[in-house]
C-alpha cells in the first residue's frame, strides 16, 4: 500500500513539530526518517499511524483519504521503541491479540489463531518462547515479539519508531539485517524512524533527512551521503570538517583572497590526504593526536586555531609514520561548498578548490 503525505503541519503550542511536509512512499519501499531528536520524525510517524492528528494536510493510503480514520481502522502495524508489550500476557497471547480482538465474523478460529501465531513466532525465531511472559525476555527478543505482534494482523504498512534504539550494538546489527529481510519477504511498505545514520543508510531504500520539522533531503542512502543537499545533511551524515572560505568563480578559496562572497566548504575526514612535502595546494598543520580506531587511524591536525579531522587507512598511516608534534601538509581530495544561504555552490564536474 502506498502512502502519500500532503502538506502535513503540526504544532505543539508554539513549537512547530512539522512544517508543511510532503512525502510519497510507494508500495514495497523501506523508508527511513532520519534526523536529530526533536526534528519531528516521530510525530510524522505517529500521524501516519493515526495516533496523533495533524493540524493541516492529509494522509492518503493507496490514493484514498485516510486522515479521518482511527488508528484501529488504518491497518497499520506499529512497533515502539520500548516494545509496549502487554506485560500480563504470554508471548503467544501478545501476538494473538490482534486476531482475538477482531469482530466475531472476521475472527479466525482458535486453531487458526494458534497456527498463525506459531507461524509468526517461527518467523521471528522465537517459537520456543511462546509460553513466557515479556518480563522474562531480553530486549532483542521483546522487540522481535513486538514485530510479530504487529505483523499478526497482516498490516499494509509497517511503522517502526526507533525500533532498535534501546538495544545494544550487536543485537541492533543483527535485527537490522533481519528487518530488511522480513520487509522484502512480506511485500509491505515500511517506514522507520531513527536518529542513527548508519542504521538508516544500511537498511533503507530511501532516506528522508529531517530537521526542525522540515524535510532536508530525500534520496537513496548513497545520494544523501555522497551528495548532501544542505550543510545540515552534510554534517548529520558522518563526520565533516568545515572551512570558511570565499568563492571566486568556480573556485572556493580558503585563506587566500579577500574577494568574493563568503561560503562554507565541507570536507569528509576520509577525503583529506596528508603529505610530508610542502605542496602548493595544501595547508600546513601540526599533528595533535593519532588514534588508531579499528580499520582506520584518526588524526587530529591543528591548523591555526582550528582542528581538522583526518581519517587515514592503516596502510597510508604506516607509510606516513605520523608522530604527534610533526608538521605536515594536507589537502582535500574532494569537497563541497555551500553559500552563506545554504545553497550548493560547486559544480560536480569541476570539484574545484584552491587553498
Amino acid at each position: 500500500m502506498s502512502i502519500e503525505i500532503r502538506n502535513i503541519s503540526k504544532r505543539f503550542g508554539n513549537f512547530v513539530a512539522l512544517d508543511n511536509i510532503n512525502l510519497n512512499i510507494p508500495t514495497g519501499e523501506l523508508v527511513a526518517l532520519l534526523g536529530p531528536s526533536g526534528c519531528g520524525k516521530t510525530t510524522l510517524l505517529r500521524i501516519i499511524a493515526g495516533m496523533e492528528s495533524s493540524d493541516q494536510g492529509e494522509i492518503l493510503f493507496s490514493g484514498a483519504e485516510a486522515s479521518h480514520l482511527h488508528a484501529r481502522e488504518r491497518e497499520v502495524g506499529f512497533v515502539f521503541q520500548h516494545y509496549a508489550l502487554f506485560r500480563h500476557m504470554t508471548v503467544f497471547e501478545n501476538v494473538a491479540f490482534g486476531l482475538r480482538v477482531k469482530a466475531r465474523k472476521e475472527r479466525p478460529s482458535d486453531a487458526e489463531i494458534k497456527r498463525r501465531v506459531m507461524e509468526l513466532l517461527g518467523l521471528v525465531q522465537l517459537d520456543w518462547l511462546a509460553d513466557r511472559y515479556p518480563s522474562q525476555l531480553s530486549g532483542g527478543q521483546r522487540q522481535r515479539i513486538a514485530l510479530a505482534r504487529a505483523l499478526a494482523v497482516e498490516p499494509k504498512v509497517l511503522l517502526l519508531d526507533e525500533p532498535f534504539g534501546a538495544l545494544d550494538t550487536k543485537v541492533r546489527k543483527e535485527l537490522r539485517r533481519w528487518l530488511r529481510r522480513l520487509h522484502d519477504d512480506m511485500h509491505i511498505s515500511s517506514v522507520f524512524v531513527t536518529h542513527d545514520q548508519e542504521e538508516a543508510l544500511e537498511v533503507a531504500d530511501r532516506v528522508v533527512v529531517m530537521n526542525h520539522g522540515k524535510i532536508e533531503q530525500i534520496g537513496s542512502p548513497d545520494e544523501v551521503y555522497s551528495s548532501p543537499a544542505s550543510p545540515f545533511v552534510y554534517q548529520f551524515l558522518g563526520n565533516v570538517n568545515v572551512f570558511h572560505s570565499r568563492v571566486q568563480g568556480c573556485y572556493a578559496e580558503v585563506e587566500r583572497n579577500e574577494s568574493a562572497e563568503k561560503a562554507t566548504a565541507f570536507v569528509r575526514p576520509h577525503d583529506i590526504d596528508i603529505t610530508h612535502q610542502p605542496s602548493e595546494e595544501g595547508l600546513q598543520a601540526t599533528v595533535q593526536h593519532v588514534h588508531p580506531i579499528g580499520p582506520v587511524v584518526r588524526i587530529e591536525l591543528l591548523h591555526g586555531s582550528e582542528i581538522v579531522e583526518v581519517e587515514l587507512s592503516r596502510e597510508r598511516h604506516e607509510a606516513l609514520q605520523l608522530a604527534v608534534g610533526q608538521s605536515v601538509w594536507f589537502r582535500p581530495r574532494q569537497m563541497k561548498v555551500f553559500n552563506g544561504d545554504d545553497l550548493l555552490r560547486s559544480t560536480p564536474e569541476k570539484q574545484a578548490f584552491l587553498f
Partner: protein, 291 residues
C-alpha cells in the same frame, strides 16, 4: 557456605530486629493479650457467644456492609482515580485533595453529618424518603457511612498504578484493531486489577473496624443495624469483659482469614506473569535460538 551479598544500604540485621520488636509491641502483644483473655473461656463457649442470635446478626451487618462499601468504592474509586490521573481539568488539585478528607475528618463528625443529611428532614433525606429509600438509621446508612470513610483507600492505591501504565500500550492495542472497550478490558484492567484488589482489601479492613461514623447513622437496632464493634462496647459497658473479648477474637479471626484470602488472590494475579526464571538461563537459551 552462602556468599555474603553486599548491599548498598547496610544494617539488615538491625532493621529486621527493630521491625520484629516494633510489630511485637504494637500488634502481637495487644492481640496476644486479647486471645489469652479469651482463652479463659473454652473454645465451645466462644463459639456459643459468637453464634448467639444477636452477635450473628451483628457479624452479618458488619461484614456485609463492609463488603458492599468496599465493592462500591472499588468501582467508583476506580473511576475517580482514572479521572484524576488521565485528564487535566480545572480544579483537579482541589478534587485530589478532597479525596483525602475522609482520612482527616473525625469519623464521628462524618457520621453525624451523614445522619443529618439523610434523616427524613435532612437535605437529601427529604427527597429520597418519599421514594421509599430510607438511608438514615438503616443498614443502608451503614453502607453509606463506610463508603464515605473508605473512599481514599481505593483511589490512593490505584493512582500510582494507573500513572504507571504507558500510553504506548494503549496505542499498541488500538493499532492492532482493539476498540476502546477491548483495550480497557484486555489491556488496562488486568494491569490494575492487583492494585484494585489491594485497595479493596484495605477499604474492607478499614470498614470492618469502623465504629465512630457508623453508630450515628446506623440507628443501632439489635438484629437489624447493630455492628459488631458496637456490640463489643455494649458488652463492656455491662462489664461482660469475657463476652466482649470472645466477640473480638472471632472478629479478628474472620478478618484475618478474609484479608489473607484477598492478599493471596492479589499476590497470585500480580505474580503469575513473572514466575521468575533467572535471566541468565533465558539469555543462554536465547543465544542458542537466535541466528
Amino acid at each position: 557456605m552462602a556468599a555474603k551479598t553486599h548491599r548498598v544500604l547496610p544494617g539488615f540485621g538491625l532493621a529486621l530486629g527493630y521491625t520484629l520488636v516494633y510489630l511485637s509491641l504494637l500488634i502481637l502483644l495487644p492481640l496476644g493479650g486479647m486471645v489469652l483473655k479469651a482463652s479463659e473461656l473454652g473454645f465451645g463457649q466462644i463459639i456459643d457467644i459468637a453464634l448467639g442470635e444477636r452477635s450473628l446478626a451483628a457479624f452479618r451487618v458488619t461484614f456485609g456492609a463492609s463488603f458492599l462499601a468496599a465493592a462500591v468504592n472499588a468501582f467508583f474509586g476506580l473511576i475517580v482515580a482514572w479521572i484524576l490521573v488521565r485528564y487535566p481539568f480545572p480544579g483537579k488539585r482541589f478534587v485530589d485533595a478532597l479525596v483525602d478528607l475522609p482520612f482527616a475528618l473525625p469519623t464521628a463528625v462524618a457520621g453525624i453529618t451523614l445522619a443529618t443529611l439523610y434523616a427524613g428532614n435532612g437535605w437529601l433525606g427529604r427527597f429520597i424518603e418519599p421514594l421509599g429509600i430510607k438511608v438514615a438509621y438503616t443498614p443502608l446508612g451503614i453502607v453509606v457511612a463506610l463508603t464515605f470513610i473508605t473512599l481514599p483507600f481505593v483511589v490512593r492505591t490505584l493512582q500510582p498504578v494507573i500513572e504507571d501504565i504507558e500510553t504506548e500500550v494503549e496505542e499498541a492495542a488500538a493499532s492492532l484493531g482493539a476498540s476502546r472497550w477491548q483495550t480497557f478490558v484486555k489491556v488496562i484492567f488486568p494491569a490494575i486489577f492487583p492494585a484494585l484488589l489491594t485497595g479493596f482489601a484495605l477499604a474492607f479492613a478499614r470498614a470492618v473496624g469502623e465504629y465512630g461514623s457508623v453508630i450515628f447513622i446506623a440507628g443501632n437496632l439489635p438484629l437489624i443495624s447493630e455492628i459488631t464493634p458496637l456490640l463489643i462496647i455494649s458488652k463492656l459497658e455491662q462489664y461482660d469483659v469475657l463476652g466482649a473479648t470472645a466477640l473480638a477474637v472471632v472478629m479478628l479471626a474472620l478478618s484475618f482469614i478474609l484479608l489473607l484470602a484477598v492478599n493471596l488472590l492479589q499476590w497470585w494475579t500480580a505474580n503469575r506473569h513473572k514466575n521468575n526464571e533467572p535471566l541468565e538461563v533465558t539469555a543462554a537459551k536465547a543465544s542458542g535460538g537466535a541466528q
